[in-house]
Amino acid sequence: MFMNEGQPWTKLWLWLDERIGLTDIVKLVKKKEVPVHRHTIWYYLGGMTLFLFMIQVTTGILLLLYYRPSAEEAFESIQFLMTSVEFGWLIRSIHSWAANLMVFTLFLHFFSVLLLKAYRAPREVSWLSGMGLLALTLTFGFTGYLLPWNELAYFATRVGTEIPGVVPLVGPFLRRLLRGGDDVTGATLTRFYGIHVAILPALTTLFLGLHLFLVQKHGMSVPPDVERSGGAKKMMPFFPNFLLRDVVGWLTALAVLAALAAYFPAELGRKADPFQPAPAGIKPEWYFMFMFQTLKMLPSYILGIEGEVIGVVGFGVAGLFFFLVPFLDREEGQRWSRVLTRVGIAAIAFMIVLTAIGYLVSPTK
């Protein structure tokens, strides 16, 4: 070893090593290598998302110390946090911005894995657990949005919980289950709070554990075009080379977060009132904008079926399609595989265009 016998640190190391097997862990870390090729940059996105998630866990726990989950107190407790608690504005703004950045890096991670076909055998379960994490993250975003109990949150939740209500047969039951009643009320807020701070973190821990374990087990996937040209020419040790590059990214992200939180602190708006009309210009979080805009543009009836049913069921089918991609794309280099790549690119284009329309079109038109 690199340490001198007899030093206190060495003694502690040896003592711990005998009991928990530190040498095995060191061996494991040293063995891990990352392929170097022209797509290596995409390998950093998973770690970046994980880093932002850790920020969410930390700031989320801090917010719990002041937040009160009821329709009567939620808005006021955040008002207090933003105005009276020292650095309360900072913690909440970082939580809000890191959530947005995390969804953004997660989408990039998702699409890069999709287009580089990293879901191929034997990584199907890595893909499925990743899709689970994507769904959990979006649910985190949706439930967290309601917690300030402001006007925007109230209507976003009214619409958002109405959407599963559109699903044929089980819809009305699902809507009641989500809302904790027939309408969006304080019961919904309490329910979303429980989901946001207990159920989702527990599930995420399970899915994340599986996801990370599988990444260790299988190593990084080498994209098909690199494989065709003879595989990665070089490997980079994970520790410390790759990890240090990771850290550069994380520190940059932290600096961006601090700047965003300081210059664009999270807003609170007006308290939710179930007996006020939806304000003009109401919109969901940007990552739901493409769905929102689609629902806005669909006509009331398509071939005799209500437009929103077509929209909601359509998004459900599209989600299922992406979930099952590893089982649909089994013959590398075949026409069908190239079609799937185009479907992925079309999905990205659709999301970007619809999101842009959502932000550019006047809300009253």
């Binding site: 009214r158 209500g165 309408d183 006020q276 009309p277 806005k296 009331s300 929103e308």
Partner: protein, 151 residues
């Protein structure tokens, strides 16, 4: 060999497997059933009132304007048409349940969430709403506005 010819005989192992798996199944059911029932919120008594007397006076509602009022647990909208007639509708948009508002510049009812338009009879005239707004009956009794559901 003899056993195979006689066909499968219930062995002690089979019995134990059956016994353990039904026990495990029953245990799981006895956990899942109460938890799933617990998750479904209980029915709350809906206000059955079919009539509501508003706190606004008829004269306070100017022509070409509208305002939200409570009809039981649901929001509803009281509209005075540019011609001066009072009308009331459910304020819950038939698309995705946002609360509608009166647009003075368009002189009709509008939903801000997905740009749905309803005329002064509650008919869906543009945008994604699939059905008209439910219409209520408005009666002016002296200084009071009384809104009632159905005939």
């Amino acid at each position: 060999m003899a056993e195979a010819m006689l066909g499968p005989e219930p062995s002690r192992r089979n019995f134990l497997n059956w016994f353990l798996s039904t026990t495990a199944g029953a245990f799981l059911l006895s956990v899942i059933y109460p938890v799933s029932r617990y998750l479904v919120p209980p029915k709350v008594e809906e206000s059955t009132s079919r009539t509501v007397t508003l706190s606004v006076k008829p004269a306070d509602v100017k022509p070409n304007s509208g305002q939200i009022f409570r009809f039981g647990s649901q929001p509803a909208i009281l509209v005075r048409t540019p011609a001066g007639e009072l009308r009331a509708f459910s304020a819950v948009c038939t698309h995705l349940a946002c609360i509608v508002q009166y647009r003075q510049d368009l002189s009709h009812v509008w939903c801000a969430c997905h740009n749905g338009h309803f005329d002064l009879n509650g008919q869906n005239i543009a945008g994604p709403p699939p059905r008209p707004l439910e219409r209520f009956t408005v009666n002016v009794r002296g200084d009071q506005v009384v809104v009632s559901k159905g005939a």
